[in-house]
Amino acid sequence: MDALKAAQYYTNRIATDTSGMKVLLLDRETTPMISLVSTQSHLLSKEVFLVDRLDNVRRDTMRHLKCVCFLRPTDASIQALVDELRNPKYGDYYIYFSNILKKSMIELLAENDESEAVREIQEFYADFYVASPALFHAGLAPATHPLFAEGHSWNPGALGRTVQALSALLLALKRRPTIRYERNSAMALKLGEELEYLMAHEASLFGARPADSTQLLILDRKNDPVTPLLTHWTYHAMLHELLGVANGRVDLSHVPDVRAETKEVMLAQDQDTFFRQAQFLNFGDLGVSLKEFVDSYQSRTESHHKLDSIADMKRFVEAYPEFRKLSGNVSKHVALIGELSRIVSARHLMAVSELEQSLACNEQHSTDLKALRALVADAKVAPENKVRCVILYALRYERVQANATGELKQLLSSCGVDADLVSMVDVVLRYAGARERQSDIFQNENIFSRGKNIFKGLQGTENVYTQHTPALAEMLDLLLRGRQGPLLQEQLPSLDPRARPLVAGGESGLANQDIIVFVVGGVTMDEERAVAVLNARYSAQNVRILLGGTSIHSSHSFLTELSTTFFP
C-alpha cells in the first residue's frame, strides 16, 4: 500500500530489465510520472544515458543504443511510435505501456514493425501520478481533462482517464478491492461501476473475485467543499496552496531576489530527509525545525573548514555525496520557507485563517457575520481570500434564518471585487450546497449534532488555526474505531450487495484492513496529512490507508474547476 514503491517497482524494471546503453523515450504524460518517482542519477546508474520525448522529431539516429519506451496507450503516442518504428533510430526497442493496450493498437504496431526492431512489449501499470507514498492522483487538469460534462456528471474523457489511473493503481498494488461509493454521488457510482466492469472484464489481470480485504471508498468532493477552501498551515499544504507544486516542482522564478539555483526546486520525499520530516509540521514548528536544520548545516560547514584531524577528513570525504545534497537542501528550504512567510504576512493570512477556522468549525452566526463584514471591508486582504470566507459563510449558514449572503455579495462588489469572483459564491452553492451534501459536515442540521458541536467547542483547541479536521478524516476515524457502523454502511453502500459489511460491529473497530480512498473532484494536501495521522494511529491494528483523487487541489484550482461548469 505504498504508491511510491509501487510506481518505483515499474520504473526500476524499465531501467534494469535490459542491459546495455539505453535511451528512454517518454511521452507528454509519462514524463512527469517518471520524474515524480525516479531521479536522473538513478537512471544513470542503470545505464539510461539519454532521456527524450518520443514526439521530439529532432532526435538523432543512434543505432548502438537500445531504446526503452514508457508510454501511455493514447492514440497520439501510438501514432508517434508507429512513425518511429517505420524508421527506427535506435537498435532494439523495449516498449512498456502504462496501461491496458487495445488489440487494434497492438496490430497497428505489429504491422509497422517491419524491421523487427521491437524486442519486447509489456504492460507496466504505473499510470498514475505519485505525490507521496500515501497520495496519488489521476492528473486531471481543467485544461486537458475537464472533470464535469454538465452538472454532477462525468466528462467522458475524464472518466476514462480516472478509470485508467485507478485500475493501474490496483494492478500495481495487486488488489481487487470491494468497491464502495457515496450514496448521493452519481459520479462516484459511475466510476465504481466502470471499474467493476473493467475488473470483471480483465479477470486474468485482476483475479476473478475480490480476494483480499481491500476496500476502495469512492468519495465525492461535493460532500466536503470546506477543506479545499481553507488556508492550511502545514508545510506541504502551504507549498501547494501558496506557491503551487506541479509534479514535485515548485517554481520560484517570480519570487523577488531569489538566487539562481533556487529558481525551480524539486521536492522529493525519498531523497530529502528534511522535507520528509517537516512536510506535516505546522508553520510555527516548521520555523524551529528549519533553524535546527541550518544549525546542523553550519556545524558541518565548520568541520569542513577545520579538517585537521584525519578522522575529520575521512568523515568529510565519506559523507561527501550526502553533504552536497544537504547543502543544496538548506538553501532550497530556506528559500521556500522565506517565501511562504513573506506571502503569509503580505496577504494577512493569519487574520483570514482565524475567521476561516471559526466559520468552518463553530456555529456563531452573529459574531462571524460581524467579523466577515470587517474582513470584506479591509483593503489589505486579497479579493480571493474575501471571497473564500464569504463562500464558507454561505455554506455554513445556508439554512440559517438570518442568512446574509446576498448582503455580503453586494458588499464584495462594492469593495471592488471582480464580478466573476463574487459569482463563485453561487457556483459553490450550486455545486455543494446543503441539498447536494449527504453528511452533516457542519454538524448544525439537527439537535443532536448541535449538542455534539457545543460539546466539542467546550473541549477547546490548542491552536486556533488548525481546528478544522477534514470530513474524510472524521469519517475514516469513525470507521476505524467501529463507531456509527450502520450509518456509514448506509452512506457507503457496496456495489456488490453480497460484500461483507464495512464494519464488523463491536467496539474493536476495523483491523487488518487496507483502505484506498479516492476523491472524485480532487484531494487536498490537508487530507493527506490527516490520512498520515490516521495511518500512524492505526498502524498497530494493521490498517493502511492510501489516498487518491482526480487531482490535487488548492483553493484556486478548486474554484477554477467549478467555475466552468456550475456557473449560474
Partner: protein, 745 residues
C-alpha cells in the same frame, strides 16, 4: 519472334517442346498477346498472372549460387529474465542471502553454508521427531501441533523452522487444501509462461497461493504458517512462486502483462511478406546485374548468365540493346505495352511521345517515367574477377516506386546489423567488464578489510589476510583506473551530433558517480605493523610487478591497452587530470608506459600492504595514513567539489606511485643513463619522432612538471613525506623525458 530465338537455346524437354508448339499457334493468333506474355520465356510453362510468372522465374531459373536466402530474424523469444536464485538450493533463500553479504569470499561462503545447512538439518530432525509423535489428522489438528512445535523448537534453536524438501517434507505442517488440482493439460499459472505442464517441465504447487506452475516459476522459498499464510516469524520454509516471494519480502511487485508473444505472432505475418518480397526483389537485382555485366564489353567471359553468349554475339549497338532487353525479360517477364493504358501510380494515360511507357525491371509492370512513379536504380555490376560486385561499375535499372521502396526497406533491415560508433561501444564494453570485476571482488575486499580492522583493534600482531587484501585492492585499483580511463576517452570521442555529445557526457557522469560510490572502502585498509626491511611477506613481492591486466577485459584483447596514452588525442588531458601518477608520455612508446604502469601497481601494493619505506619516508610513518585522504580532500576542494574531480583525485591518491626513494643528489645524466639502460631504443624512438610532435609533447611535459612541482611543495608543507617521495619519483621521470627530447632537438 525475338523472344523465341532466345528461348530456343534453353528448350530441352519434350514437354516443353510441346508447349512451345502450342504457343507458336498462339503467336499466330495475334490478339492473344496476354496469354503469350504469361508463358515462361525459358521453360515455356504457363503462369496465371504476371506476378506468378515472375515468382516462377525467380524460383526455377536462377543460375546464381544463392538458393533461397530467406532468413527470418528471430523475434524476442526471450522475455523478461528470471532473476536471481539459480536452481532450487536447499539452503533457505533468505538466510543464504544474508550469509552471502557477510562472508563474501567464495570458499568462506561454502564453509558457512555447510555449517548452516548442518544446523538446519539438525533442527529439521528435531521438528520432524516431534511431528512424528503428534497424532496426524485434519489440517486444524496439525496446525495446533505446529504451533506447539514452534514453541518447542524455538527454545533450543532460536527460530524453530527448517528447510522444506523438494518433495514435500512440509506435507504435515502446512495445509494443502487450497492447492490447485493437477489435471492433464494444465498450464503454468504464470501468465507470461503458460507452459503445458508435463513431467519434463515439473508440475509444482506454490505452497503459498496454491497455484500450479512449472519448475522454473516455482523456485522460491517463503515461510508459511500451518494455514499456508505468510509468516513473519516462525513457520516452515516452503516452495513458493516469485509472486508470493516478493509479497513475503514486503515488496510490491506490481502486476505486469507481457504482450510480446502475441505481438511477434502478429508481426511475423507482416514481416514474412515483407521479407519474402525483399529477398525476391534483391535476387532479381542480382540477376539483372549479371545480365548487365555480361552485356558490357569490359565484363569477362566468366559470367555464367545464360544469355551471355547470345549477347556477345550481337555486335552492333541496336541489336545489343535489344538483346539486353530480352535478357532482362528472362529475369522478369514484362507486362505487355498494349495492355497498359495508364500508369498504375499516377493514373496518367500513356502517349506515344509525351508520357512514354517504361518497364519496371523488378516487377515487369508498365509505369511512366515521372519521378514519383519510377526511378533509375544504380546497381553495381559483377567485379571483373567474377567474385562479388564492384561498386565502381554501375548500371542504371528502372524500378517502379513500389519496388524501390521494397529495396530500400530491405537494405535498411540489413543495415541495422551494422553498429555505429564502434569506439564508443568498445570502450563501454571495457567499462562494463571493469564494473563486473569490481562487483565481484569488492565484497571480498570489504569483508577482508572489516576483518582486518577488527583484528587491528584487537591485537596488532599477525595479519594473515593483509597480503591478500592488498592484492585484491590492487585489482580493484586497476579496475577503477581502467574505468576512469575509458570513460575519459568516451568523453573525448568526437561527437557528431548534440545527442551523441550528451550521451558521452552522460556515460562519463555515470562512471564518476560509480567511482564516487565504490572507491571509498579502498582507503579503509589498516596499516600493517612495522616490520624490518626485507622481511616482507613473500607472496606480496613476486606478485607485485605482475604485468598489467589481472582481469580479462573483453573487447580490448587486440588493443594495446598497456599504453595509457593510446592513439587518441585526448591523452594530454588524461595526463593532466592525473598529473601526479602517470608517467610522462612520449608519442607512442608503449613499452615505457607499460613498464610504468607495472611499477604503479607494485607501488600501490606497497602503499596498502606494508608501508615500509626507504630512509626518506621512515620518519613520516605516522602521518601518512592521514596524508592520503587529506590529499584527496585538498584536491577535491581544488576542483570546486565537482563529482568527477573527487573521483579522479581519489584515483590519483589510490594509485599514487611510490617508489624506492632515489638518491636526491643524483644528477640528471645518471637518471638518463639508467632510463636508457632500461630501454635502449628509447632515444632512437624519440629521435624518430616528427618535430611538431616533439614540440607538442615538450609543452605537455613542461606543463606537467610545473604541476608536479606544485604538488610536491604542497605535500612537503603538509608533511606528507611519502607522497612527496612518490611525486619526486615521477618528477624524475619527467625530467628524463624532457632532457631526452631536448637533447634530440
Amino acid at each position: 519472334m525475338r523472344r523465341s530465338t532466345v528461348s530456343l537455346g534453353a528448350l530441352q524437354t519434350p514437354a516443353a517442346a510441346g508447349l512451345r508448339a502450342n504457343s507458336m499457334s498462339g503467336d499466330d493468333a495475334g490478339p492473344d498477346v496476354a496469354r503469350d506474355s504469361l508463358r515462361c520465356p525459358i521453360c515455356g510453362a504457363m503462369a496465371p498472372s504476371l506476378f506468378a510468372l515472375n515468382v516462377h522465374l525467380d524460383d526455377m531459373h536462377f543460375a546464381g549460387d544463392g538458393g533461397p536466402r530467406h532468413h527470418m530474424p528471430h523475434g524476442a523469444e526471450e522475455t523478461a529474465g528470471h532473476s536471481g536464485h539459480a536452481g532450487f538450493a536447499p539452503a533457505a533463500g533468505l538466510a543464504a542471502e544474508g550469509v552471502r553479504s557477510r562472508y563474501a569470499s567464495q570458499d568462506d561462503l561454502e564453509e558457512v553454508k555447510g555449517a548452516i545447512l548442518g544446523f538446519f538439518r539438525g533442527a529439521g530432525k528435531a521438528v520432524r521427531g516431534l511431528s512424528g509423535s503428534a497424532p496426524s489428522g485434519s489440517p486444524s489438528a496439525t496446525s495446533s501441533d505446529h504451533g506447539n512445535e514452534d514453541t518447542h523448537a524455538q527454545a533450543p534453536h532460536d527460530g524453530g523452522w527448517r528447510v522444506g524438501d523438494k518433495d514435500g517434507a512440509d506435507r504435515d505442517l502446512v495445509t494443502r487444501a487450497h492447492w490447485q488440482q493437477h489435471r492433464p493439460g494444465a498450464r503454468c499459472s504464470v501468465p507470461a509462461c503458460g507452459l503445458v505442464l508435463t513431467p519434463h517441465t515439473d508440475a509444482l504447487n506454490c505452497r503459498c497461493c496454491g497455484r500450479l506452475m512449472c519448475g522454473r516459476h516455482c523456485d522460491r522459498q517463503v515461510r508459511l504458517s500451518a494455514t499456508a499464510q505468510l509468516a513473519r516469524r516462525g513457520g516452515v520454509y516452503c516452495r513458493a512462486c516469485d509472486e508470493c516471494h516478493t509479497r513475503a519480502a514486503g515488496g510490491t511487485a506490481g502486476q505486469t502483462r507481457d504482450l510480446t508473444r502475441g505481438f511477434v505472432h502478429l508481426r511475423r505475418r507482416a514481416v514474412n511478406t515483407a521479407v519474402l518480397e525483399g529477398n525476391r526483389i534483391e535476387k532479381r537485382l542480382e540477376k539483372l546485374a549479371l545480365v548487365h555485366g555480361a552485356a558490357q564489353p569490359s565484363a569477362g567471359p566468366s559470367t555464367s548468365a545464360a544469355a551471355a553468349s547470345a549477347l556477345v554475339l550481337g555486335a552492333q549497338p541496336g541489336a545489343r540493346s535489344r538483346a539486353l532487353q530480352a535478357a532482362e525479360q528472362e529475369v522478369v517477364a514484362w507486362e505487355d505495352d498494349a495492355l497498359a493504358a495508364s500508369c498504375p501510380f499516377c493514373g496518367k494515360a500513356f502517349g506515344r511521345l509525351a508520357s512514354r511507357r517504361h518497364h519496371c525491371r523488378l516487377c515487369g509492370r508498365v509505369v511512366c517515367g515521372r519521378a514519383g512513379c519510377s526511378t533509375l536504380l544504380a546497381v553495381p555490376l559483377p567485379a571483373a574477377g567474377g567474385q562479388g560486385f564492384s561498386p565502381s561499375r554501375c548500371a542504371d535499372i528502372r524500378a517502379c516506386c513500389e519496388c524501390e521502396r521494397t529495396v530500400i526497406r530491405h537494405r535498411n533491415r540489413l543495415a541495422r546489423a551494422v553498429p555505429q560508433a564502434p569506439d564508443l561501444v568498445r570502450l563501454y564494453a571495457q567499462i562494463r567488464a571493469s564494473m563486473a570485476l569490481v562487483e565481484e571482488i569488492l565484497p571480498v575486499f570489504n569483508a577482508l578489510a572489516m576483518r582486518l580492522r577488527n583484528l587491528d583493534e584487537g591485537r596488532a600482531g599477525a595479519m594473515p589476510d593483509l597480503p591478500r587484501a592488498a592484492r585484491v585492492r590492487k585489482q580493484l585499483t586497476a579496475a577503477f583506473g581502467d574505468m576512469d580511463q575509458a570513460s575519459k576517452r568516451i568523453a573525448m570521442l568526437p561527437a557528431g551530433t548534440p545527442s551523441s555529445s550528451r550521451l558521452h557526457e552522460a556515460v562519463r557522469r555515470a562512471v564518476a558517480q560509480y567511482l564516487q560510490l565504490h572507491m571509498f572502502p579502498l582507503t579503509m585498509l589498516p596499516r600493517a605493523p612495522h616490520r624490518p626491511l626485507g622481511t616482507r611477506s613473500p607472496d606480496l613481492v613476486p606478485r607485485a610487478p605482475r604485468p598489467q591486466h589481472v582481469h580479462p577485459a573483453p573487447g580490448s584483447s587486440g588493443e594495446p591497452t598497456e599504453s595509457p596514452t593510446g592513439s587518441i588525442p585526448s591523452s594530454t588531458s588524461t595526463v593532466n587530470a592525473h598529473g601526479a601518477r602517470l608517467p610522462p608520455i612520449d608519442g607512442g612508446s608503449g613499452s615505457a608506459g607499460g613498464s610504468a604502469r607495472g611499477s604503479i601497481e607494485s607501488s600501490t601494493a606497497d602503499c596498502s600492504g606494508s608501508p615500509v619505506p626507504g630512509p626518506a619516508t621512515g620518519g613520516g610513518g605516522n602521518g601518512e595514513g592521514g596524508g592520503k585522504p587529506g590529499m584527496a580532500v585538498a584536491l577535491a576542494n581544488g576542483v570546486g567539489g565537482a563529482a568527477t574531480g573527487i573521483a579522479s583525485s581519489l584515483l590519483s591518491l589510490v594509485a599514487a606511485p611510490r617508489r624506492r626513494a632515489r638518491d636526491e643528489g643524483a644528477d640528471r645524466d645518471r637518471l638518463i643513463q639508467q632510463a636508457l639502460a632500461a630501454d635502449p631504443e628509447k632515444e632512437q624512438r624519440i629521435a624518430a619522432m616528427p618535430l611538431n610532435e616533439k614540440m607538442a609533447s615538450l609543452g605537455v611535459l613542461r606543463d606537467q612538471r610545473q604541476r608536479v612541482l606544485g604538488y610536491i611543495g604542497d605535500a612537503q608543507r603538509g608533511r606528507r613525506l611519502e607522497d612527496a617521495a612518490s611525486l619526486q619519483a615521477s618528477l624524475d621521470d619527467l625530467d628524463v623525458e624532457l632532457s631526452l627530447i631536448e637533447r634530440s632537438l
